[in-house]
Amino acid sequence: MQIIENSKVKEKLYIEKLENGLTIMIIPKKGIQKKYVIWGTNYGSNDSKFVVPGETQKTEVPKGVAHFLEHKMFEQESGVNSLDTLTALGVDANAYTTNDHTAYLFECTENFYPALDELMDYVQHPYFTDENVEKEKGIIGQEIMMYDDYPEWKVYLNALEAMYHEHPVKLDITGTIETISKIDKEILYKCYNTFYNPSNMAMVVCGDFEPEKLLQEIKNRLIDKKANGEIKRIYPEEPENIVKEKIEQKMDVSQPIFVIGIKDKLADTKERVKKHIAIEILLNMILGKSSKLYKELYDEGLLFATPSLDYEYARGYAHILITGQSPEPEKVYEKFKQTVSNMKIDSNEFNRIKKRIYGEYVKEYNDTADIARMFLADFFKEINSFEFLEEITVINEEYVEQVLKDVFNDKKMVISVIKKD
């Protein structure tokens, strides 16, 4: 296995790409009881239009298939649900779907290998029937309704709606009651066979392991499957401009909640980490806990807590999101825009924020689950997570200044608000 060592956090990554195309990453952690494994496919809710390798026609499936598949993978031909089997082993098993990947995981202290047997068995053996697909529609329907009552989720989706004309990132990961009603077992098998090929997948394990021995154990559990060719993913042409600047919805919230969004473009692979860090630094300088703007808004009663500051990106999209609660979101938005347009980078502040972010990156290496999830998510964005620790120490003011000019553009900003009637 190839070994990549990071001197900052004093951790090692063992990485290998197998013949069938599957990438295995192992981060050993001596003395930790918890073992965490996550197996993901580079397939999320955004991937509903594609060309199956070997075919020429494009395939389009209803929204929500990736998430539906995630629910259905646990079902086994024997009638036993793998989630039950894993739980019975005393391990904590779960799965999730994002815009760009789907992952199956478990965390345990004992029974790692029996649980790995089960995980690798169920992910490699789908079993869909008309009946079990129908039944799942009831459960997912309840999940969709649960999210309907989350204003935090709605305000987020609305912000995406305001930014994107075409890109599927703006749609609900779960799909809607209407789109999931069209899902059947043939569709599920087709998507499974396309995206759950080892060449489109990666596995990350973190815990107290001998990497080479673990690698062998994983190989022993793989069924014989050849790497398939490239999956052509089709995304609609997304214009650079936004759809509309403001979007508002009425819901039962005690205080208005808001998301300020800034539409951006996905950076080239080699610049991705650097740009991400620059944006994190800028957001902290503008509206972080120690910023002048935050103090001002707090003193005026316009903010009560620091908004959360995020930068999200995957194939075909990138955007900044600032999420918070305020009696007058419009005022927060106006002051934010003003601050951005008058912004000068102060060296002291820049260095202080760099220190802070460095510390935050280091903290991410405390927990096996955080580490494994981070490496998987970054991998699908073509990033090695260690790069963040290296880039943060070398990033300079000039570059950050450039990003400020390029990305924090008035015309790319939107605000989504949810308030009471």
Binding site: G90, I140, K289, Y358, G359
Partner: protein, 430 residues
């Protein structure tokens, strides 16, 4: 991991957790006192005002800046209801010196000092808190109290507890009440602070790469020296006999798409050992994906996405929770009642018990893989006055038998069924 505790003054304890597993050191200060209608709002406001500024760092901006200079040390605080105690919690997490880009700093010492400064040396003006801070934080707490219904699942849970513990300390809302908030000013709040500072139970935890020096850093800290000995006023979480309650049903209407059921169960147990039996009972009833609730309500009946239960050991209650389509209320209730009955007649297998034990033991074993979880574990024991090591804990779980669990099942009575539903549906029914 090594755990050590020392009473540095009567009523003030330091707990040291020596571990090399983490990149960080975590320091926590807990102030515990009995929760009452009279003090709950003051405590909640106090917790908010204390993070605003200290004598040496008079603004929150300054606190934040100094923490950022310490490689993003993070301060956090909040309040919790732990049994009949109100606990003001303060945390500071900072990077272990080994992982700093430059050597030669003593981050642990600085972190301890900063945290103690925030808790015990707040900014004052003319013998009271700064007016402006109190005024702003009153607004803040008001907003939190008003925001209580925003999270529907949490709200339904809190409401069920309120109905179960009407006019009792545990029924109080941990952030307090708007009508009481209005009566508090900078002076009365400061008086309250001085009072609890001299009366409450104080626990200081330091977890991370520590040594003998660490106790000294705390003991010799000026803010600690200034604290007096005390007969700490707090409620030891003991098992109390519960009165037989008449089952009641509370329905509330709100703008929701999904209905939320929360059922509060009373456990009538007699001794400490039965708490382990109760943990097993809960795991089988609704504690995992293998549980009856998850299997019967979600998987078989396809009625819910969330379906489970949790055990509140301090009060010996189990709360059954699920989110359902509103029209399925009767159907869901019937299935849930059937599960409670099945537990009583022992309608669960040896395998169910084994699985539940494995799940619980796995959780316990990983307690020392997370610094804050470990602190919470030791603090819970501190409040119940009952020290059990992780190994003993596991042993006790192992020993629980089917008879023990059936006994718990038969001691259980339904106290309150709370249902949060949609407004339109209610109209249709009429």
């Amino acid at each position: 991991m090594q755990y050590k505790e020392k009473e540095i003054k009567k009523g003030i304890k330091i707990h040291l957790i020596k571990t090399e597993k983490f990149k960080t050191n975590l320091i926590a200060v807990f102030l515990s006192l009995p929760i009452t209608k009279e003090n709950v709002t003051k405590n909640s406001l106090l917790s908010a005002v204390l993070r605003r500024g200290t004598q040496n760092m008079p603004t929150s901006m300054q606190i934040s800046q100094e923490l950022e200079e310490m490689y993003g040390a993070s301060f956090d605080n909040g309040i919790d209801k732990t049994g009949d105690n109100h606990v003001l919690k303060f945390y500071l997490e900072s990077i272990n010196d080994k992982y700093l880009p430059q050597q030669g700093e003593n981050m642990l010492k600085t972190s301890i000092e900063k945290l103690l400064e925030i808790v015990f040396n707040p900014l004052t003006e003319n013998g009271k808190f700064k007016e402006e801070y109190v005024k702003q934080e009153k607004e803040n707490i008001k907003r939190i109290i008003e925001g209580k219904p925003d999270n529907k699942a949490r709200y339904a849970f809190d409401r069920c507890i309120e109905e179960m513990y009407k006019d009792q300390p545990y029924g109080l809302y941990k952030y307090g009440y708007i009508e009481d908030l209005e009566k508090i000013d900078a002076k009365t709040l400061y008086e309250h602070y001085e009072k609890i500072k001299s009366e409450c139970k104080i626990d200081i935890f330091v977890s991370g790469s520590i040594d003998e020096e660490t106790i000294k850093i705390v003991e010799e800290n000026e803010n600690i020296k200034n604290l007096q000995e005390r007969e700490a006023q707090y409620i030891i979480n003991k098992i109390e006999e519960k009165p037989e309650a008449q089952e009641k049903e509370v329905k509330e209407e709100m703008e929701v798409t999904q209905g939320k059921i929360v059922i509060g169960l009373d456990l009538h147990i007699e001794n400490e050992e039965q708490r382990y039996d109760a943990l097993l009972y809960n795991a089988i009833l609704g504690g995992s994906a293998n549980s009856k609730m998850f299997q019967e309500v979600r998987e078989k009946a396809s009625l819910a996405y969330t379906a489970g239960s949790s055990y509140v050991r301090y009060k010996n209650n189990i709360f059954v929770k699920c989110g359902i389509e509103i029209k399925n209320y009767e159907k869901a209730m019937k299935i849930i009642r059937k599960q409670l009955e099945d537990m009583k007649i022992g309608n669960f297998t040896a395998e169910d018990i084994e699985n539940a034990k494995k799940g619980i033991i796995s959780t316990i074993k990983s307690i020392d893989d997370e610094q804050d979880t470990e602190i919470t574990y030791f603090f819970g024991q501190e409040l119940s006055g009952n020290k059990v090591s992780i190994d003993e804990y596991i042993e006790k779980i192992q020993k629980v038998s089917k008879e023990n669990i059936i006994k718990i099942a038969n001691s259980i009575t339904i106290n309150t069924i709370y249902f949060l539903k949609n407004i339109e549906t209610a109209k249709e029914e009429q």
